[in-house]
Amino acid sequence: MGERKRNPWRGDFPILGTEVKGKPLVYLDNAATTQKPQVVLDRLFEFFARENANIHRGVYYLSVQATDAYDQARARVADFLNAAMPQEIVFVRGTTEAVNLVARSFAGPRLRPGDEILVTIMEHHANFVPWQLLAEETGAVLKVAPISDAGELELDAFENLFSQRTRIAAFTHVSNSLGTINPVAEMTRMAKSRGVPVVIDGAQAVGHGPVDVQAIGCDFYAFSGHKLFGPYGAGVLYGRKELLDAMPPYQTGGDMIESVSIEKTTFREAPERFEAGTPNISGAIGLAAAIEYLEKTGWKSIRAHEEDLLAYATAKIGAVPGLRIVGTAPEKVGVVSFVIDGVHPHDVGTVLDTEGVCIRAGHHCTMPLMRRLGISGTARASLSFYNTKEDIDDLVTALGKVVSIFGNAGG
């Protein structure tokens, strides 16, 4: 257990000390969701135990306090993304809602038949289906940028897909299935130099380091708090203030209005305009606690550990007989997707599960990508800074069991 004990962060995450079916939990599904540190759980408990009140109802102390905490959470997220101001941060449920919001409120009204929406083939369904549907509804055309067999975006082809009719470009920062880090700043420059607005799906990027939306130059950036060690149901849409203020509301109701009469309703500015109803107050506060924890921990050491671990995992997993790693881009986060000859990913997942090893198996909500790669799915181990080489060793041992079960079947 030496290596697990030496990892300075594991002790911060209560779940990592638990067992599954009598075996120590080996959690390698961080791309699906990350575990939560004690400080986030404490913050949630504290909020509900001592501070809970609805916000923006500020005649009493408790509500003022809750409103303050919610505002501070917004400011902390703005800092994390290096947004120009907290008002550029809209709290939503998650990446999916953020993308849908941009598709409906920003892109929809600008699209005419024959206009073009540019995405890539490696998009998660959350950044693919909303655009596909919008294209169908408006008569716009969905253009899909290709990748290489290694899982890298073909940048020239991406650039060549821009035309006079391109109205929006939406692409992922990091591929959830392959781990590929896209050159988002360069891609954004290609779009912006042609006057095309940019939406970035940051769901898989944020857990691996802070993002600078101003350096990237994008117009919108979306992520989910639960992939950043925070609670479920609290996600973020960053949008440039002038764009947000010009967009029609996505949902309507309380808290987002300026004035309502029988004849007419006027709306508040961003971000409140997009936060109809009581928002996920505790979720936002918990997310802020997670970001604070990560900043204290230090992104530099987190990244160094993850890079070291990815190199180790790639070598060890890649050496399993009959196994092929899917996604071998030089720029990757800690995601190792793989297929094993003659074994379906779900069977891999089930065997690993009996060893306490949690991985994801399937198409990872990227069916167009799987089709491009000529496979129905992969098994995917995704790493975080609390993982250790011992976790990888346990995974590889369990993979040995897969090979021994399926290797003897005379296939």
Binding site: G342, V343, H344, P345, H346, T350, V351, G377, I405, N408
Partner: protein
């Protein structure tokens, strides 16, 4: 036998590697596709009814060992059954897969079907095991 060796016993792996009754059936009286959008398992079942009984049944599929082996086992067992006999068999399979207690799976009575009993220890995989069965149920309804 531990849970895992019970799940992936030789009978299952053999049906997975060497599926019986694989391929399309032409002519057929009914066909239906079973698809699990969560995991991508896919099975298309073809059936030809003969005098109200299952005269012939085949499948084409892609997916995990459990879904494909279950399809293969099913096609080996249901020929000659009437629709109501098949419905009874389907209920028996569902009971076996969801039983709280260790089901009485007996190879001599149930044949290879008994090998599917191990799935009950893996609730996430029950849908894989029932995929082909529900497809055949649908194919029988659709046919003449």
């Amino acid at each position: 036998m531990d849970d895992l060796s019970e799940l992936y016993q030789d009978i299952i792996l053999d049906h997975y590697r060497h599926p019986r009754h694989a391929g399309e059936l032409d002519p057929c009286t009914g066909k239906a596709e079973g698809f699990n959008p969560l995991c991508g398992d896919k099975v298309t079942v073809y059936v030809r009814k003969d005098d109200g009984k299952i005269g012939a049944v085949t499948f084409v599929g892609e997916g995990c060992a459990i879904s494909q082996a279950s399809a293969s086992i099913m096609t080996s067992q249901v020929e000659g059954m009437s629709a109501s006999e098949f419905a009874e068999k389907l209920e028996e399979v569902k009971r076996m897969l969801t039983a709280e207690e260790e089901p009485e799976a007996d190879l001599s009575v149930q044949g290879d079907l008994a090998a599917l009993a191990g799935v009950r220890q893996f609730p996430a995989r029950i849908k894989c095991a029932t995929l082909a069965w529900h497809a055949l149920e649908e194919a029988l309804e659709g046919g003449t």
